[in-house]
Symmetry: C2
Subunit: 169 residues, 2 copies
């Protein structure tokens, strides 16, 4: 798939092609398509970001909540999306020791209870130790607005990486 | 080396044993030693952080400036400290493509010119893509005070990881 091919898709096909870029949230690709065709990948990325930025806060919150916990119940039950499964595997989150599993579950629980959405991080950018260190630090914080913004940033970074893989394939 | 052994060292021996924890900055271990013996590793880490926190800003700046650039001239000429060499190698920073080398050098230059100290990141926590993404984002910013604080945080995280390796050996 390349940008030229994407530019020639119908709105429905375009939405389908980019459905996995934002976790369980095809409305973002659908909204971005109104700006097609895109001069370059950066223009496409900007349109996707803009679609999220213009959405109501509740929809942004739903986007965050559509993300699985790292090494959480979706991973255990095999119900992760293909993208998430590959990313979590790549970061070594499927080969955790019992102690790491317990700590991760506890930190995930604390984070979600405190902020109302799951801890989100672009795992492809981090090592396992980095993910744990980041989660420890962010779960200990108490600035919900900042976490909301950080998670949205991470969601966009995850989307950018997934889009790059899609266009490289 | 374990904590009990560290606790029984003289000030000079202690400073020597921890000399590599903070890059080219043995004064930090020397200052922390006044609080020995340490009840646990967290107490030792707290003493090291406190030594930096109580230092004058110029000394903190010198600490930041004691760090090598990532994939910079020290790496090219083989004059990195053993710790830095191992960390940069682990993050894939010794196997860069020509395009990555050029981008990294340009971003490092821009960052240092803008802020007056090198870009510092705990590379053991990040993948190569993550380091580049972080550097791009931070080199594009313009909040020098925030970068100063972020770099000091990263320096402490690097020190914590080096200390953990030392105590595990």
């Amino acid at each position: 798939m390349n940008l030229n091919e994407l530019n020639h898709l119908s709105a429905a096909e375009f939405t389908e092609a980019l459905a996995g870029i934002y976790e369980h949230s095809p409305w973002i690709a659908a909204a971005a398509h109104v700006r097609a065709p895109f001069a370059d990948v950066d223009a496409l990325i900007a349109a996707l970001r803009e679609a999220v930025a213009q959405a109501a806060r509740e929809r942004q919150l739903a986007l965050l909540r559509a993300h699985p916990e790292l090494a959480g119940k979706e991973a255990a039950s095999g119900t992760l999306t293909a993208h998430s499964s590959e990313e979590q595997k790549g970061a070594g989150l499927v080969n955790l020791s019992e102690a790491e599993k317990v700590e991760l579950a506890e930190l995930n629980r604390r984070y979600r209870e405190k902020f109302g959405f799951p801890f989100i991080i672009a795992v492809r950018h981090h090592t396992k130790s980095g993910i744990l260190a980041e989660l420890r630090g962010r779960a200990a914080g108490d600035d919900a607005a900042r976490e909301f913004a950080t998670c949205l940033d991470q969601v966009h970074e995850i989307a950018r990486l997934r889009l790059a893989s899609l266009l490289a394939a």
